[in-house]
Symmetry: C2
Amino acid sequence: MGVTERKEREKTEMRELITAAAMKMFLEDGYAKTSIRGIADAIEYSPGTIYLYFKDKDELLYEVQADAYGRLFEVFKKEATSTDPLEKLNQLARAYINFGLNNPELYDLMFIIRAPMNVDEELHKVNGANCLNFLIDCLTDCINKDLLRMTDVQQATLQIWSTVHGLVSLNLRCRLKIMVESEEAVPLVLIKTMEDYLAAVTK
Amino acid sequence: MGVTERKEREKTEMRELITAAAMKMFLEDGYAKTSIRGIADAIEYSPGTIYLYFKDKDELLYEVQADAYGRLFEVFKKEATSTDPLEKLNQLARAYINFGLNNPELYDLMFIIRAPMNVDEELHKVNGANCLNFLIDCLTDCINKDLLRMTDVQQATLQIWSTVHGLVSLNLRCRLKIMVESEEAVPLVLIKTMEDYLAAVTK
DNA sequence: TTTGGATAATGAACAACGTTCAGTATATTT
DNA sequence: AAATATACTGAACGTTGTTCATTATCCAAA
């Protein structure tokens, strides 16, 4: 009686089909400009069908968010590999900033877009926490080895996250136009500012 | 022949009537949840009338934004009064954070909401630049007196702005739920983190 | 004071949106 | 083969921002 299992499999396959199409369109046009009707068209189903698999557009956002956190975590693991805690912290911060610059629409729906945060969500919590823990672990290491001017890990985490998120999000909302002369200078300026910050808080 | 002048006055009065109603509703419900029809109802005019004074909803946003920058500037002038540059910087950062916590919807439409930034806009540019220059002047003072671990004013400005904006905006999007235990602890934690940061970059 | 042309305001109409649901088609079980 | 359960549809609802022909109001000239 493998029929119920096949049904189950088809159900998750359909969810993944929808999620994949949504991710593609969110990346290209952003969350707001992507319509349910558009997603339905892309996968050649009726709009109503999507609501058989997702409660509403927000639930679709959460699904894509979880995926996005996974991607960021992969980038972290790939880019921040140094055994030197300070160097690793630098790599981590660079990776974060570059991720934001290279995937603006993705960064948007992960950290900027307005959507009630259901922290209870399993996948979301896990992947989001993975990214955060990567930073926390790195900072714990730095602080234990007395390399930074901070002693509290939570405070240090908040500081560095706020700094890099601030840089990326202000840029994404064009608020740095007044300060940074040319558009193509932005990546370098952001990285430089972050490194200046790290240098300042390094013992 | 004061008729053209009266017409002019009535025109700006109408604009202000609309702007005031928009500001009120943006503050209460946010930009997205405020409809043109709602604003029209509030001032007892037809929806179409609003379009005789504003090109679209975004132009209304710009008007309110300019107003909001003015408010922030007033807060700066009122709160950051110390003659000690470092203390003044601290006051400035506190004022910024508190402004964001006390006026979440306003902060949202000033710095987070998606809207094409027409930096050419007069009022907008002036008020926005006022706020930024307040910070730049303060930091210039600090750096000239060799009180900070940075030498470049632009970098320093970017650093501090990113940090406080990062703190406020991450909190506004509920991203600190994972890190900060209780909701009411947030203001203290944000201020503490900012002060830790300032302490770290102070010589 | 009446008339004619500018100006101001209206509100119905349009297209697009998220979402729902009665109805239809397909698949599974009896 | 019939009855039941499941999957899907697409028209419809209530919003939204925005437009525009129509109507009302005002002001200057006759």
